[in-house]
Amino acid sequence: MRFHAAALVLAACLTPPALAIFEDDAYHIDFHHALIGLPKHDATFFQKPYAGSKASLLYTISESQAIGAVNPKDGALVWRQAPSAPQNGTGLLRAGEDQDTAISAFGDHVAAWSASDGRIVWETRVDGATVEDLEILEQEDGITNTDSKDALVLLGNGEVKRLDGRTGRAKWTHHDTSGDTPFQLSTSPTTLFYISLHTQLLGGTKLKVTSLSPITGKKLDSYTLSSESEVSAREHILFAGANTAAPLLAWTDKANKVLKVNIIGTKGVSTFNAPGKAGVEKIVLHAPNRLNSLAHFLVEYQTATGHLAEVYHVDLKKSTVSKAYSLPEIAGRGTFTTTSSDANVYFTRITSDETSVVSSKSHGILGRWPVKASAALAGAHPVHGESEVVVKSGSASAVRSAVLYSNGQWVLIRNGEIAWSRPEFLSSAVSAVWAELPDQEALAHELEAEGHQNVLAAYFHRVKRHIRDLEHLPAWLQTIPSRVLGSLIGKSEDSAIDEIHHDTFGFHKLVIVATAAGQLAALDVGSQGKLIWNIDLSQFAPDTTFTSPSLKALRGYVEIKDPGFDGSLYINSTSGGMLSSETIQVQPRVPPGDEKLIAFSLVAGELKGYLGSDATSEPVWDFTPPNGEKIVSYTARPVDDPVSSIGKVLGDRRVLYKYLNPNLVLVTTIVETAKTASIYLLDSASGSLLHSVTHTDVDIARPIPATISENWFSYSLTVDATSGPSSRGYQLVVAELYESPLPDDRGPLGKQFNSSTLQPSKASGDVAKPYVLSQTYHIPEEISHMTVTQTKQGITSRELLVTLPNSNSIVGIPRAVIDPRRPIGRDPNAQEQSEGLMKYTPMILFDPKWHLNHKYDVAGVKDVITSASGVESTSLIFAYGFDVFGTRVAPSFAFDVLGKGFNKIQMLLTVAALFVGVLFVAPLVGRKQINSLWTIPS
């Protein structure tokens, strides 16, 4: 205990002045899109978080299996929970009426969450099975149990369980041993129906409905519907209506020509023909899911050109289904939502440009709102939605709909106006790159043109360019007063968001993000992550299914490659337009003079280096890890990694020369049986091994992130418990490379004027291997990814950026803390202190002030990319993977930018006061000078 406390105090003392985010900068310089993922249609609903609550929240479970509650007012995330590991099976989310819990199921895990704050109420696991369906038992024998409603789960092995709403314990289990595929559960006020698919030998599937007693789980009855002529796959079953007064079972045939509806519990099947001359592409059935609502439902038919709908009424007494009215076809895509208010049912039709509400009783439109065009939704159509309708005296006075659009935006449309939009498609981002803004690109092109011309032509070109630039002068002069005023009053930040072109500091950089499904979006990191454009790549490559596009930034455009197609797509990085390969000169990196590029790649478990960029030639070197080790990853030094100083000045003014090799590659290998991990440092030009280290007792199932920059590299390991190691937890290793262990010495190559890594034998007889200094620290949490900040010149000290998946954080560890030259076992002497070295401690506790994300909860980060900004002190950071997060850091403080703490008004007042003082003192001084000349010293 004492030791622990001492260690804590020690760590606190030794920590250098933390480079935390200023409280007034937080939420301004950074942004965070807290995402859920694309919401699932059947698991998205408005619900009051507890009985008697005035406002309702919007609950959803996404395709990424995250459960979230969103405030419908502003789209802010109220709470979110995601499983730690991806589960198989689909995610389900249900909430009982007037309950304070939402019950979710994914994989074998069923959990009840507190609806207002997302805490867990109970959780249970169904061992070895996946949950196929989950329903809430709203009524039991026609009586609503308001206290706590039980959950019904259907498992993949044919078991039906009733789980207690308070504890999650199973009240009864019904086991279906027929071997039929379980499909869905449905409840009526008195009976529980279990629907399964009975596959015929001759093809086709029969629907089997088994009714169970909700109280005992005993089988009451069962019947089979002869649907074998239509249903051959699960997708043909449109609906198995849950929790309604008249639970429905609807299916269609392969050609979507016929609609068959069965009222569950009866054996009769009503058959309707699909309307429209054109073929129906898809049929969707929308029905209310409240027990007390009218038994009306809407069938949506999507054709190639438009969509239309028909409304049907169910007569419970006669057990018949009849068509009531139809809604006319509208060109383009749209969707319908169902809302029940008391017993009434309303259908809301949402198209790209209109929202209209009809009652289920008649086709008269109760309310109609044109949807205002929005840049976020340009070219997209509604996919599915959920609505809340307020109907007063026969007309809909307000409607709000949470709609998922085809471009992955989840939008709330309130009376035709877009209240908020959430870019949920970004949750599946797989690749991101930094792109330059148009102004910089244009200037770069001009300068390049000048560089290629002769001196005189270049001079004229330049003068012409400056004259052309003069046309911007009046506009610029006009903006001066407002900018000066804005900067004085402190509102400059807001105006800067719109004016990304007046970006003197280079904080506004575009990030191009590609999602797994082939969506491409550009975000402005300097303007709160504003979406600049958003396109679907499949419009450029119609026959391709994108799986994991990878991006590469080139000047003015991005190159997209995907395993789904050969070749590349080129997209303009500022407009999102497609560029054909003719209009751009695809410039491969051509090495100057007679130098040659060596490219390397991982081929069949070996790292191989090739001359030139084509991997067809004979490899010039290959690296095969010894002893059956498997390469898990490799990291190269960034191409653009400026180093300001070739040496490190010690306290006594001597210099330790850095080992700076642009071709460093760090290779991570593991041996699964021996639980060891090895790190190899290679020179990618020659393929020679510069350094290697092996760690034992490594949990090889956990990630081993690594990064390399300048003359140092870093990696992190998880200690495996099975062999009883002396310590446990997670380790961070940092190593620095120097030319020689001695200061003022440049090692074996010191006297050489030229040297080659390819022919090391010519250089004083030995390969110039670096002198490696390394230190290991215990860290309190696992690291999933690490990278290093980048600045323009590399003068600013670097920060190691580590992603902590457990606390959903990104931490910037200052370089001084992980300096491997920290003295061990003794206090630093005066010289070391002047270098800023602290005594080595075996652990690094992540100071909360190092957290770049401060109070944001940045979940699921897979990659962090950094870029230099326009000023040397600051590095831009962008994290993606699930959430999207961007910020900027100044590891050596913002020494070249005035911070918000600089009070401009105060400065002006001080200057004015000094001026007044001078006016006041000037006569005094004048008199004194005259006196000193004219009086005789006594």
Binding site: A20, D699, A721, R728, H778, N808, V921
Partner: protein, 238 residues
């Protein structure tokens, strides 16, 4: 060691795995009911860690924990919690009875220490034991901006010295004037006797006081350039 853990793991597969609860007590530092729902606990030993979310009753419930030695960590956005070592073993309840049951033991543990360096015991018991996990401190993410404040300005020793000498310079003449004539004469006598005293009286000091050079901070150089000026000496004496 290796064999013993393997045997423990083997036993664990035979019997039902352990179940225990980490509970956040109400302390002066934190009301656990206000913690965000992102607070969760992980149990790490080998392979992917087991995760438990925060329940309504401010606890984390771990079920199906097989025998072994685990590092339990609570991850919270607002508070730092102490890490725990939790050992799950299957032991005979009564020596020689042959009846085996799970035993869960919890201790404090420390980052950067040997695993055997256990701290205070935090609980011990069979299945369903409740172990308290305490927060050690709040997390402060933000840096204070060292803005201008008049108080911090006044706290500066240089400013304090300057103010003090100002008070002496401006205050002394008034003090002298307000003295009754006898004391004044006595005081002047004393000053004459004192070897340190300058010959000039405070009035001339004030007259010769060089505000501009004082404001420019040129106390020493000003004194040397105008050696005849008694003002700096007077200040030093003050």
């Amino acid at each position: 060691m290796r064999t013993s853990i393997f045997s423990l793991a083997y036993l664990a597969t035979l019997s039902a795995a352990a179940r225990f609860t980490l509970h956040i007590p109400q302390t002066a530092l934190v009301n656990p009911s206000t913690l965000p729902s992102t607070t969760h606990a992980t149990l790490q030993s080998s392979g992917p860690p087991q995760t438990a979310f925060l329940t309504r009753s401010n606890s984390f419930i771990f079920t199906n924990v097989s025998a072994g030695s685990y590092l339990a960590t609570v991850h919270c956005r607002e508070f730092a919690f102490e890490p725990l070592r939790i050992d799950v073993a299957v032991e005979e309840a009564v020596e020689g009875s042959g009846e085996k049951r799970e035993v869960v033991k919890a201790w404090q543990t420390f980052v950067g220490n040997e695993w055997d360096n256990k701290g205070e015991a935090r609980g011990e018991g069979g299945n369903g034991v409740v172990v308290e996990v305490k927060p050690v401190g709040a997390k402060y993410y933000y840096q204070e901006r060292s803005g201008f404040s008049p108080l911090s300005f006044l706290k500066n020793p240089m400013i304090l010295m300057a103010l003090f000498s100002m008070v002496l310079i401006f205050g002394m003449p008034y003090l002298m004037d307000n003295m009754d004539p006898e004391t004044k004469a006595e005081f002047e006598e004393m000053q004459k006797k004192s070897p340190l005293a300058g010959q000039a009286n405070p009035a001339t000091q004030l007259q010769n006081f060089d505000l501009a050079s004082w404001m420019a901070g040129k106390t020493d150089s000003g004194a040397s350039s105008r050696g005849q000026s008694p003002a700096p000496q007077g200040k030093k004496r003050g």
